[in-house]
């Protein structure tokens, strides 16, 4: 799956977690702009993992701060 298609899927998955309706760009940060707490992160990561059938380990999550970085990571993890 290319970046655009991956991004479109992630955009749909993030919607229910974006409670404040923040406009999301590649530069949006999860902790800052989206105000995700650790519980939201866990549920959101689980939703992505299940949809793409991948593992995003805690070690990898630590490197992901922005939406754009997440999309890039998911593209890469799909191999």
């Amino acid at each position: 799956m290319d970046r655009a298609a991956t991004e479109a899927k992630i955009a749909a998955l993030i919607a229910p977690f974006n409670k404040k309706g923040v406009v999301i760009t590649d530069a949006s940060t999860f902790a800052g702009d989206l105000e995700f707490d650790s519980l939201t992160v866990m549920d959101f990561v689980a939703a992505i993992e299940d949809d793409f059938d991948i593992i995003i380990s805690m070690n990898q999550q630590a490197e992901i701060e922005t939406y754009g970085q997440l999309v890039d990571a998911v593209v890469k993890l799909q191999g």
Binding site: A46, E49, I55, M58
Partner: protein
């Protein structure tokens, strides 16, 4: 120094939010829930706190062994015979015969081939997890795992993959996605200490084994009273023989301090040379391991105490529920009963009101708690009398009405 040079930040500024939160809470005049001092300890269930006779309902002293005469006598004898401390690592000058005897007691208690005693339970998790799961291996663990488990993961080099609390399907999906050929370690707890709920170990361990994983179970909060021989939740559910590593502590049912790992792995003894939190610290004082060994052997014959502790747990759980408190579990599953508070402020007020009634419980707050809850965590003791449990319920009723929670 010129104006263009920026001053280095104060390394403590990262704690500002917590400092402010604490200041706000204490400015309401509430007693600091994390500053309690016990002036006198009268028994496993009573102490004098702030000059007041207090029933202890937050000590994890499940089996009440802290004042057992045989345990105290063993400790005193070892103290006199071996001195106040070992001043050395288990690998060098820190292994005395009481340390070996304590490991023998653990092997008898669990009927397992190997036992290794650490200086604390925290170090047992830290050491075993960080040592056995290395680079390229995967750790699959419950998101509500204890801090010592998370810290063990953080200290090691394995990939760490959490799953939703007690969710069998979420665990299985993650296990199946691990790349072929990678080593796998599943980490579970028997009793989760925040809510006092138990894990569906039978199903989870079966799935872990089907997927080629080794299994580590932390039985800190179940040792001594869950299972026919008090070996924990895995024994109770009939799957202890499938567990590769049991982690436990001496600071709960055993009634002193220290931690351990028991295992049937044929190569287990190599841990004594490669596990850094075991090697690079001083061993426990001989009096401590002597008290632990005596206590562990007595716990093997604690069926009556176990039955009384279960009765206490059922009475308190049922009574609190009937009073209208919201509890962490629908049914009593362990000796921990978590009372869910509406928020931190009222939780702290309720904690203080109970202390004024003469009752000590643990106040647990985020981030240590699941789902950012504020909890009053009650842990029962086999030495609590049936009458004391009724007194405790009366205290909860008065305090709960005063604070407006029920």
């Amino acid at each position: 120094m010129t104006d263009t040079m920026t001053a280095a930040p104060d390394l403590f500024s990262k704690f500002d939010a917590l400092i402010e939160m604490r200041a706000n809470l204490l400015s309401t005049g509430v007693t600091d829930p994390y500053g309690l001092v016990m002036e006198k300890v009268l028994s496993p269930t009573t102490a004098i706190c702030n000059g007041r006779d207090t029933i202890l309902l937050g000590t994890y002293n499940y089996m009440g062994m802290t004042f057992d005469p045989d345990v105290l006598a063993a400790g005193k004898a070892a103290f006199d015979a071996f001195g106040s401390g070992t001043t050395g690592s288990r690998c060098l000058n820190g292994t005395y015969s009481p340390h070996k005897d304590c490991e023998e007691a653990l092997k008898e208690f669990y009927a397992m081939d190997h036992a290794m005693v650490f200086s604390t339970g925290y170090q047992a998790n830290l050491g075993i997890i960080s040592t056995i799961a290395g680079k390229g291996d995967y750790i699959v663990l419950d998101i509500d795992s204890h801090a010592s488990i998370w810290d063990g993961c953080k200290m090691g080099d394995a990939e760490v993959v959490p799953f939703k609390h007690n969710d069998i399907e979420a665990m299985e999906k993650r296990l199946k996605r691990i790349p072929a050929g990678a080593g796998k370690l599943v980490i579970l707890e028997g009793v989760y200490s925040m809510m006092g709920d138990i894990a569906p170990l039978k199903e989870m361990i079966r799935i872990a084994k089907e997927n080629g994983a080794m299994v580590l179970v932390d039985e800190a909060h179940s040792m001594g009273f869950i299972g026919p021989n008090g070996r924990g939740v895995a024994e109770d559910q009939g799957v202890l023989d499938q567990v590769d590593f049991v982690i436990g502590t001496f600071s709960k049912s055993v009634g002193t301090v220290g931690g351990f790992c028991v295992s049937n792995h044929p190569k287990f003894e190599i841990m004594r040379l490669v596990c850094r939190p075991y090697v690079f610290t001083a061993s426990l004082p001989p009096s401590v391991v002597a008290t632990a060994a005596t206590s562990i052997r007595k716990l093997m014959h604690g069926a009556e105490k176990r039955a009384h502790l279960w009765a206490n747990s059922r009475t308190l759980h049922g009574g609190l529920k009937a009073l209208g408190f919201q509890l962490g579990t629908e049914t009593p599953q362990s000796a921990i009963i978590a009372v869910i508070m509406p928020d931190l402020e009222r939780g702290a007020m309720m904690w203080e009101a109970l202390l004024h009634e003469g009752l000590y419980v643990n106040l647990a707050r985020p981030p240590a708690t699941p789902a950012n809850m504020t909890l009053l965590r009650c842990s029962l003791c086999a030495e609590h009398t049936a009458e004391q449990v009724q007194v405790i319920l009366g205290m909860f009723e008065r305090a709960g009405k005063k604070i407006g929670i029920i």
